[in-house]
Symmetry: C2
Subunit: 417 residues, 2 copies
């Protein structure tokens, strides 16, 4: 079988062009889900896709699909992609690299006349980052029936706007992109992503063959105290929600955040009410993001979080809501093998690696054989403006992805999960 | 000398009418400085004042003056009032009671034909609360030349709007209120306010003769860490601004907030950046409000705040800005005596009391003999929707204020500070 070569300059130029939408002053990108910037990014990608014969479509969750039709359109398609939304101070590569290398691979395969036994779909999942509408991965969660769409639509941003209202606005502004039902059958799913860690760079490898993904739990914690005047209410009579929050932060970092070398523990969002300098805070709401490859450790530490928050709250009250509970998972061994073979074919260094970040592939893996390809990023930095991947690494990832998609399109049987 | 009686129903009805502007669902008021609500409150008060012969005027700091002209207009006027802005979840009485009892006293004196040797001015100082534009008391600070107007105008709210722009908008929307120069000479200043503490209620007294005001220091503290991905960056490699903030909160509450029974220590405002659930916070900015009647203790604890924040910041960086540094002060003994005599005249229980809250009178006391009258508030609650004063206590306060203003208007010499 012949494997056509991708165009390294073309995929890089598209990445840089996309990064101009929402560009920040330090090289980063702010293009959050369901903002005008994301709609502008859709328009740019659609402008590239339509002349090449891609059929655009979307679904009720706001996912964007670009389909190259195959011979038997009744077969579950091969799907590849990632997301194009970013963190508020995100980078050029997280998400966008996965969508645009899939696009590059699809264009390369089409131009080379590689036969497609079934449809090939490039996808941009809606709201992977979850920064405006938390938590994230709503597109792949809805697609995989992990979470009901109605629950997702009801979520609000900090201004009180529902995600449902913004999804309706998005659809209304793309009347020429047809709607397809949510959650069609998928033959196989492959996602390229920057590693978001320092391992590949340190080991001098171009390609990470992702073996699985660490588990994740997220919580929303609400501390309720009592407002009062900062100048008059005696300290002994206060129920200060910030004082309770401070105690929780210290104990949680000590007893959960320092559990072992693999734990990742983050308090990323904090809202204080009424948040005025001379008013004792009556309410603090904060987020916990906890990840670990071992599901038993996650279970143990989730219990510990409850114990600590309850113990440190007094004289305030506290409630805990578990928002996300995703166990760790393993990716398809057959697809891992195909990624390794492709890397070897082109002389790229490759190694198995665990994904510490969560990705849409977590949810696709519930519905289809799934795999991930990692490429290095400088100093392991992501979710920050300084995020960077070398052009040669983007090209290597696109080539490996192209080879794996060619393998899948040539098979009449999809691999097992 | 005859002392006319105020109209208890009239002052109460005006208080309730004013509280409808910015009314909240639990009985409170949100009418922050330089909002449309405050402009509406100006309009209501001006509608009451003009038919009674008050001359309205304003100054560059946005203070509102209502003058009843006296015989010799070249003499420094007698001034009474407070403020009409509120906290985001404030009450009906904090500030408004001082302005509307002064208004009631002035109307009563005018109707009774009490001679005015000099002008009598009712004042509403701009932005006492400092919740939208922090810190507060900008109107009385500018009036008393405590702080340059240019510095006040440059301050921004959370949306980045400058206070100067909003002051210009306020003035533009009241073209019929003439501008007077900032900081005219004042003969004497009297301010009525709810106690914002539980003492008068517990002692069963209607009137507090305020002896002085505790000192206050406020700080803005900025912790700078580094953003990073919540799922990938190892705990040991993080510079998490929230983790440093938690340590500071615990140590500050322990070493400063628990210093003695008189200390008041509050962290009221916290801003986290980028404030997204799956991003390690790179920056936390927070406020400290510290008050104590002993200036030496304030000095000692300010040093301790610097020491703690510096010690707990690592591996983050920290900067501290001292925004307010107001020592404790004493009010005019002659005016305190006049307040006590008025209470006795009408059979009200009165007692000396220290003010734990800051008030505009702090700044007026630098320019003129000044005094404060406290009335009880239920359970000592203020800066909260549950704030409440009994109609009988508002009436008692208005009557005492009316008597003291009558004394001042009858004197050719103003008392010493």
């Amino acid at each position: 079988m012949a494997y056509p070569l991708i165009d390294a300059g073309r995929v890089w130029n598209r990445l840089m062009a996309l990064a101009e939408i929402g560009a920040l002053s330090q090289g980063g990108v702010n293009r959050q889900a369901l903002t005008l910037g994301e709609a502008e990014a859709w328009r740019l990608i659609l402008d590239w896709a339509r002349p090449l014969g891609f059929e655009p479509s979307t679904d009720a969750a706001g996912n964007l699909f670009l389909t190259l039709p195959g011979e038997d359109r009744s077969l579950p398609p091969v799907v590849a992609g990632s997301h194009i939304d970013t963190q508020p101070t995100g980078g050029k590569f997280d998400g966008a690299a996965g969508v645009l290398t899939a696009f590059e691979a699809a264009e390369t395969l089409a131009a080379a006349g590689v036969p497609r036994g079934r449809d090939l779909v490039v996808v941009a999942w809606m709201n992977e980052e979850g920064s405006r509408f938390a938590p994230g991965m709503t597109g792949s969660e809805a697609f995989s029936a992990t979470r009901p769409l109605a629950e997702i639509r009801a979520r609000t941003d900090l201004a009180g706007i529902t995600m449902g209202a913004e999804l309706d606005r998005l659809h209304a502004s793309f009347p020429d992109v047809p709607r397809r039902p949510l959650g069609f059958p998928v033959g196989a799913y492959v996602e390229l992503h920057i590693e978001q860690g320092p391992v590949l760079e340190a080991q001098g490898k171009e390609i990470g063959i992702v073996t699985g993904m660490q588990g994740k739990r997220t919580f929303r914690i609400t501390i309720t105290g009592a407002e009062g005047h900062a100048g008059t209410l005696a300290m002994a009579e206060r129920r200060d929600a910030i004082a309770a929050f401070g105690r929780m932060v210290v104990e949680l970092n000590r007893q959960v955040g320092a559990h072992d070398a693999l734990i990742k523990f983050t308090i990323g969002r904090v809202q204080v009410e009424p948040n005025a300098p001379s008013v004792i805070p009556g309410k603090v709401t904060f987020s916990i993001d906890m990840r670990h490859p071992d599901n038993a450790v996650l279970e143990l530490l989730a219990e510990r979080i409850r114990t600590i928050c309850t113990a440190e709250a007094a004289p305030c009250a506290v409630t805990l809501d578990l928002l996300v509970n995703e166990p760790s998972n393993d990716f398809s061994p057959v697809l891992q093998q195909a990624i390794g073979a492709a890397a070897e074919r082109h002389g790229y260094g490759a190694m198995p690696i665990l994904s510490y970040a969560g990705h849409d592939s977590r949810h696709l893996a519930k519905r289809a054989p799934a795999a991930m390809i990692f490429i290095p990023c400088r100093d392991g930095i992501s979710h920050a403006e300084a995020e960077w991947s070398e052009p040669a690494h983007v090209a290597a990832g696109a080539q490996v992805l192209c080879d794996v998609l060619a393998d899948l399109l040539a098979s009449s049987e999809m691999p097992s999960a």
